[in-house]
């Protein structure tokens, strides 16, 4: 359904200057196509706009050597810039701040994004790769059987969950998790929260209250990798209101183009730490900018 960028640029570039340097006009013509490619890949409009501006500066005047076409040159500049933005300054995106046991990790996001599943996947990873003793607690008092869902996953992966006490509010559950994590000698405790809309003031205030009690070392925003233009609102609102330390993109096993990755990174400035690649408990990988960049460009 989507043409990839090279094909898209192929036709345009037949008409471009063939030697020397990329002219301002060449670049502008090419970047019109790049813009469409980014939007079709679900990059949020304001993010696409800024990205194009940055690339325009870099590409104008760039030398076109004999061995490559002007089209290939632009694709290369776009690709490199995408990787640079996606990677940011992070050396090791999979590293979590979990010193000072028990270290709290808060999981937040919209409804159905994959928080509960990701909580369990991460707990499994911390246990198996890092030898950490992990406690998981569900603060989701809204969704039917949300607590049972986390409890079942905990049993599947051999990670403890905080016993379910019906009628407790999320802040009380967070306090109990903290106590239990300290007394029980846990290295990490993970707080899975209910899904919430970023404009739901009541629920956003609730999760802010949880944050104030738990003082999380990491607050991870879990986002559906298939997200479209709404990525900009989600990223802005959650980061402004709660303050996030990183992003997890789920459903990257789908055939979505993953433009939300660029939007999230550009708007929050926070690293994308992991990607979810399936429903199974081991389907979690650290974020690789090169892979996602290629995917956004359809290459």
């Amino acid at each position: 359904m989507f043409e990839n960028l090279s094909e898209r640029l192929g036709g345009v570039f037949d008409r471009l200057t063939k030697q020397g340097a990329l002219s301002e006009d060449d670049v502008r013509t090419a970047l019109r196509e790049v813009r469409v490619a980014l939007l079709e890949a679900d990059v949020s409009l304001p993010v696409a706009r800024n990205f194009i501006k940055a690339v325009e500066k870099k590409a104008t005047g760039a030398a076109v050597t004999k061995s490559i076409t002007p089209g290939q040159q632009v694709v290369k500049i776009v690709h490199d810039e995408l990787i640079a933005v996606l990677a940011g300054e992070d050396e090791d995106p999979g590293k979590l701040r979990i010193d000072n046991p028990p270290a709290p990790i808060l999981m937040v996001g919209l409804q159905g994004g994959g928080k509960t599943t990701t909580t369990a996947k991460l707990a499994k990873r911390l246990k198996e790769r890092d030898g950490k003793k992990v406690l998981m607690a569900s603060l989701d008092v809204n969704r039917p059987a949300a607590m049972e869902q986390l409890e079942i996953l905990g049993k599947q992966i051999g990670v403890d969950t905080l016993p379910i006490v019906k009628g407790e509010d999320p802040v009380a559950i967070a306090k109990r998790a903290k106590t239990q994590a300290s007394l029980g000698g846990y290295d990490v405790y993970m707080l899975d929260t209910a899904g919430r809309l970023s404009i739901d003031e009541e629920l956003m205030a609730q999760v802010a209250a949880v944050r104030d009690v738990a003082k999380p070392r990491e607050t991870l925003l879990v986002v559906d990798g298939l997200t479209g233009q709404d990525a900009v609102h989600t990223a802005e609102n959650f980061d402004n209101r709660i303050g996030i330390s990183g992003v997890v993109l789920t459903r990257m096993d789908g055939d979505g183009r993953g433009g939300a990755a660029l939007s999230m990174r550009a708007i929050t400035g926070k690293p994308i730490k992991f990607v979810g690649l399936g429903e199974k408990m081991d389907a979690l990988e650290t974020f690789e900018p090169e892979r996602v960049a290629g995917r956004i460009l359809g290459m």
Binding site: E148, L226, T234
Partner: protein
């Protein structure tokens, strides 16, 4: 009121407004071109322009705004499908409640035998709606549950049988085949069933919704759409592209997590929200 000339700049701004709603570049271009026809160079107020846009969108959406059709067949089988987390289970709860309120006898089958606590979740919805939920053990074959549910719904003379399914991404051939198998098994009991196959789409989804509809329609005979989570900041503009391309009816929209948060799809309201006309 300030009037502005409908020129290239203005058209680009309008395109961007639509693109930001997830309409996609092609459809946004087409919609703006349509309203510009015969008006290029004219002076219009912002409100007039938004009204024109909204009218054009409502015009495209009018033919697909259709409630779930009810048939005299007993049981009418409604199969609910979609990618993970889109809102299938919740939508079944809401629909079951509406049908019950309309005096229908409803049975639900908890066909998601995969996800942790999917059954427990649907059982809560069944209680809320006052509708029995048929379940099977986690990990068991959903097709055989669907067969048993058909048998029970027929024996009990239920008006409607709603079948929940596990979330699946459309590029997973194995899971799509599992869905096709559920359909085959249902058809052994009634060759015309499922009478409705609803694809549940999440409003926050971008252009991938086009792939979702294309593949689910091909492999699971989708007969209609429901879009959830329109109570958020997502506008669901991709529905316009979908209407254009596939013409599938949109039966309802999800506007919250409570049992009554399911509304008919209203093209004019949708267009107003999408263009920002509702914000004044």
């Amino acid at each position: 009121e300030i009037r502005r000339t409908l020129d290239d700049d203005m058209l680009e701004q309008l395109e961007e407004l639509l693109i930001a709603s997830d309409m996609g570049v092609d459809t946004a271009l087409r919609v703006t071109a349509n309203i510009a026809e015969g008006r290029f160079g004219k002076k219009l107020s912002v409100r007039e322009i938004k009204e024109l846009l909204a009218q054009e969108i409502a015009r495209i959406m009018e033919p697909v705004a259709r409630p779930l059709p009810l048939y005299p067949t007993k049981p009418q089988v409604v199969l609910v499908v979609g990618v993970n987390g889109s809102g299938k289970t919740t939508t079944i709860g809401k629909l079951a409640s509406q049908f019950r309120a309309a005096g229908k006898k409803v049975v639900i089958a908890a066909g998601d035998t995969f996800r942790a606590a999917a059954v427990e979740q649907l059982q809560v919805w069944g209680e809320r709606a006052g509708v029995p939920v048929m379940t099977a053990a986690q990990g068991s074959d959903p097709a055989s549950l669907a067969f048993d549910a058909m048998t029970r719904a027929q024996a009990e003379g239920a008006d409607l049988l709603m079948i929940d399914t596990a979330g699946r991404l459309q590029n997973r051939a194995d899971l799509m085949e599992e869905l096709a198998k559920i359909v085959r098994v249902i058809r052994k009991k009634d060759p015309n069933a499922p009478h409705n196959t609803l694809l549940v789409l999440d409003a926050t989804t971008g252009q991938n919704a086009l792939n979702q509809v294309e593949i689910f329609r091909k492999l699971a005979d989708v007969s209609g759409l429901v879009m959830t989570k329109l109570d958020g900041t997502a506008k669901g503009g991709v529905l316009v592209a979908l209407a254009d391309k596939f013409g599938l009816p949109i039966h309802a929209i999800g506007v919250g997590e409570q049992i009554d948060d399911l509304a008919p799809f209203d093209p004019e309201e949708f267009a107003a929200a999408l263009t920002g006309l509702d914000a004044g």
